[in-house]
Symmetry: C2
Subunit: 337 residues, 2 copies
């Protein structure tokens, strides 16, 4: 049985959840998919570049007992690290840079050049370098996978890649930012905007500066990623018509509810007659009978209209770090089988 060398770039909540899931599923991976794994590299801004070609003990890593990082990584640390770790697979979970996608793009590119599969939960590379990375992977006979970039571990990308072959998307519509959806849900319960934002911050789903979520940037990046990959049409986030939920008052939320509507931050993308994609992120008053209205809290949903299925909706409920980690694990299995 082949044992693959896995390298984790980023070792926060998601990286740790992935490691726990790999341990939990080791027997299934051996028995059902015929492979085993070992961790030969862990890296983060805080930890430095740790490489151990003979493998690191998962339990020791999870306890936070980490060996010393590489002392000299030269001009291109990620290359030196992957090389030293003899990486077969890179899990790229560094933080998002929505403007450039870097340094994640460089990390993924380096892994593919060195002959490793490149798996990421980072949306930046999809938005800024999807076609390049896809072609580079093809060229090296490796896989570039990114299931966890949108709707955590819910199988959106693999649905169209594997389960819906030859289907062509006409349009999609969804709720893809869980922070704003949580805020809107809490405003329905009576909180005003600021109080709902503070609560989202307190439970760790909104940043200190919540603007990436509340102004619609995160949703914009996600709708761009979905359209780029699933409609195979490069789209720049700047081409997405964008607005957020800032300025919405508790009174407006209650008034809409009384009329049978609720506010949602809705993402849409559609192919126009000329074949180009028109995409939009904005607040909409949706009817309580609209499937989008049933998505509460941190859940998310995407509804597809295709040339072969009139309507298919995928809803993910109550995601957490394990959900994102599962998307990464599914990518690993699909890359290796």
């Amino acid at each position: 049985m082949k044992t693959y060398n896995l390298c984790l770039l980023g070792f926060g909540n998601v990286g740790k959840a992935l490691l726990r899931l790999l341990v939990e599923k080791r027997a299934t991976l051996r028995d059902r998919y015929g492979f085993d794994w070992q961790i030969t590299g862990v890296a983060s801004r805080r930890l430095g570049w740790i490489a151990a070609p003979d493998g690191l003990d998962p339990e020791t890593l999870l306890r936070g007992e980490l060996p010393a990082p590489m002392a000299d990584t030269g001009a291109d640390p990620v290359r030196a690290w992957l090389d030293r770790a003899r990486a077969d697979v890179l899990f790229e979970n560094s933080s998002l840079n929505a403007q450039t996608g870097q340094p994640a793009i460089h990390h993924l590119r380096t892994a593919l050049e060195l002959g490793a599969h490149a798996i990421t939960a980072n949306k930046g590379p999809i938005v800024h370098a999807y076609h390049d990375l896809r072609d580079l992977a093809l060229q090296h006979g490796k896989r570039f996978m990114f299931e966890s970039t949108v709707m955590d571990g819910a199988p959106i990308f693999s649905l169209f890649r594997d389960a819906l072959p030859a289907a062509s998307i006409v349009r999609f519509r969804g709720i893809l930012n869980s922070t704003t959806n949580y805020i809107l849900t809490r405003m329905e319960a009576g909180l005003d905007f600021d109080a709902a934002v503070r609560e989202a911050q307190a439970i760790g789903i909104a940043e200190t500066d919540p603007s990436a979520d509340v102004d619609g940037w995160d949703a914009t990046v996600k709708v761009t990623a979905l359209a780029t990959v699933l409609m195979d049409s490069p789209l720049d986030p700047a081409q997405v018509e964008r607005s957020g939920i800032r300025g919405l008052t508790g009174e407006a939320v209650q008034e809409a509810l009384a009329q049978g509507f609720r506010y949602k931050l809705v993402c849409t993308a559609e192919r126009d007659e000329a074949g180009s994609i028109r995409a939009r992120v904005g607040m909409e008053k949706v009817s309580l009978t609209d499937p989008l209205a049933s998505v509460m809290g941190t859940s998310s949903l995407v509804h597809f209209e295709t040339d072969v299925l009139p309507g298919l909706t995928l809803t993910e409920h109550n995601p957490g770090p394990k959900t994102t980690a599962y998307g990464l694990l599914a990518d690993l299995i699909n890359a290796l089988r």
Copy 2:
């Protein structure tokens, strides 16, 4: 480019929709999946066994201009027919026999024994012979595929086979019979049970004898098929606790609505502590905020709880013969790639 010989057993609405879809997608199949096809066999109770190893013209078939059937098919007509048609793939769309699964099981078994892929929209073989047919396919290096048996062309089986590897289902809950869901929807609009049944019959979604739908038999067969395949645990329809919607009054429907509930025929399956499956089909009063409540008309839904994703819901809207045909086409592509 390889050209595959396709044989259609059953040439009603679904068989014809499949043929139209094959024509519509021919360029995509060639360009994206690298294969071409020809129809070398068509058969039904009415048409007899028609075989033409050099291929039949799709447009001629769709106009209903069919060549003469085989004169002498011997003791095992399906074998003689598949053999004469040099079948690479059998599409089995004969009518359902929920009690035994025959003769569909024999058709599929014969195709696999002759080295053809076996694809069906017929639930009977799943319920009565899933493990046998799966093992026979493995043994012959061919595929046994059945995406269209539950929720038409919505990717339920391929979701877990391809997109959700290593996920283990704890329980699922769904609305899987569209006829009863349509009847319940129309009763909410004010019709009584008998009038709603007559309307469903008039638009062709209920049989002259509607008992297979209204007494929960169709839903029972579907919940059995899902549990058998997705929870890898043989289940007999007789083990499913079953009731239907007969006896429900228009008054009860309106009273429930006024209280914020609607009646639905709900399918559930769950693994108990001992590892066996408990399944149930029965009418439930679901809250209007329950995702199941949003499924109206002929749409359907299934909600999965797994060990890795807390909740994933798939909803299919407004299916038709093309939707079922698409499930068969997706099976073909996945069998051949």
